[in-house]
Amino acid sequence: MNFDFIEDQYLLRDSVRAFLADHWDTKKLRAAGGRFSADLWQGLTGLGLQTLLVPEQHDGSGLGLVDSVLAFEEFGRALVPGPVRDTILISEVIARFGTPAQCAALLPAIAAGTARVAFAHAEPGAGHRTEPTGVTATSDGSAWRLHGRKILVPAADAATVLAISARLPDGRAALFLCDLPAQGVTLTRNIAVDADSMPCRVDLNAAPAAVLGVDALSRLLETSAIAAAAEMIGIAGAALDLAVAYAKQRTQFDRPIGSFQAIKHRCADMLVALEAARPSAYYAAWAATEDAPDQPLAVSVAKAAAGDACRFVCNECLQIHGGVGFTWEFDVHLYMKRGKFLEYSFGDATWHRERVAALVLPARAA
């Protein structure tokens, strides 16, 4: 029984944190203005992050989600934008479900940092459903074509490949891969809460695609929810640090506001929410790595808990800052907005609680 990471896993986290502290602070994020940063991408490639989930036979590190989850947390803490997370996660489903030709074509390129993959999943007017309905796949017997619209695809316009969820003619949902640029694919930036995540609208008009499968989509939705949970833990950690630092330094009534119990107790509740949610993200990563039987439950627990915690901590962080927290100049909103974006990605807390209920309540009597 050991619910802790091993030395190497902490070393990876430390190296990612150190790199991001030097190369991706909020000044750089603001300067990038929602544009793709080749420097950031190359730096992360230098750390080997894109190799994490690529099998060794395809020039990767052959590691698992447990080894990667602390890196995702750091991505959240430093507000790293797409397409790094999606590229890492999609490399795993290609390795698991791709044909040998797909693996050979994509995995070494991902590991080398030359392929960038974005996951196109959300659809307009689709609520929190995780099953796509608005994008359909048709086949003429030899090739697949996709039709419809995706929204809020992080960094689609910086990607070389799109992974797209779409409905098969038999009604099931599956994952497809589409090389960019492609005829029939139009990319436009969404005007959205978190512009720094580079959200794109993707219009598919008979776009050519290769199928990766139904199970590939299920897997990617689970691992994306885990990564989003870990990122939200990182965001909440950064927002709490920001709030506590401000509460120590801001003086009113001749005292630091952090000496007032109204603020102290708020900060304590923020830490409790964050630290309660944290292990659920780690456990979900372990369950997904081991394909444990309780994996769907573990994922939903983590996504719901991290979403609720992140929202709570970010909202309170803004409140503790008072008026300046509402200004563009202070960083509070950057964390709040990324948190908001992730909170509603891959099923929000309400959606995941319903899934938990369905999994743990005794089934309806026949």
């Binding site: 630091p256 603020i263 938990v356």
Partner: protein, 396 residues
Amino acid sequence: MDFRYSPEEEGFRSAIRDWLHANLPPGWGTTFREPEDEAARFAFRLDWEHKLHAAGWSGVAWPREHGGRGATLVEQAILQEELARANAPESVNIIGRNLTAPTLMEHGTAAQKQRFLPKILSSEEIWCQGFSEPNSGSDLASARCRATIDGDHFLINGQKIWTSFAQYAHWCFVLARTNPTAPKHHGLSFILVDMRSPGITIRPLVQITGDTEFSEVFFDDVRVPRENLVGGLDRGWRIAMTTLTYERGPEEALPRQVRFRRDLDAILERAAATRSDGSRVADDAAIRQKLAASYIDLELMRLGGLRSFSRVIKGETIGPEASLNKLYWSHMYQRMTEVAMEVEGSSGALLPGDADAPLDGALPYKFLQSRAMTIYSGSSEIQRNIIAERVLGLPR
């Protein structure tokens, strides 16, 4: 990261499971009922403590020099988990075993260890805790109960309150003021008091559940030998703080989580069995959200407990972070018992003993009991101060 137990640990688990199966009263968990009368119930539970000790399950993780088996912390946790899973009788020796004993092991003299530890291990002597006073609750360091030196004795005068098991206890550890002129944290001493001493009056207090589990204790010129002082004159605050960390530790969170899980399972089953306006309560979208929230809350408690526990196994100390666990579980369990009552609707108001009470009113009773959780062993407000000041470093 690995959530499996070793073959030796699984063997230990089977051993305690088998023993429980063979030694719990027939019909335990189904038809068997503990005595309703409180004194008879105490006697029943004390008898159970003696059985545990006779079979070698008491204080398994204590060092061998103190009569323990030197079991690992993991084995200790497995034992507690299995006791909780079997819903074994509640421990009446919990204050002695979990608070007095580790405090004495850390701060007691050789003579104190030799005198007290064996009888704690065997549950021959039951302990109670003399910390809170009517005017010293959250502000514990303001305690006014006096201990004055009279030759080779202390003379204790004052009052303690919320003293669980006082009417059954043989001994009490008392936080008493030995130096009224020193700053309040520096004038207290930690003194072991024989509850059979002349001058002690115990007045049971009726709780909101109707039980009288705790009491007021009055000390009127109670003579206590000076050798019963633990850790030096006027050094009691530090000792008391050690005691409190044992009260909030992760070893305690894991089995507690197992007990909570039994309650949640019962709530989920009741939601599936209860009908409201023609459909199952378990199919109501709003109730489903609350049930799932309780499930998630409890899973977070389990995972948080495992994580803290992993740190303890590695020899790290938990310190003020223990307040995070206590603050979390006390509030989450209160929410869970509220959901339990909501699932039942009107019948949720029926208490144990009423013929129509679902599950004999167990869950509404626990709702009432749980109101104490955010107050005892440091109120939520005190826990938040500890977290803010000692974990986050906010100014006092």
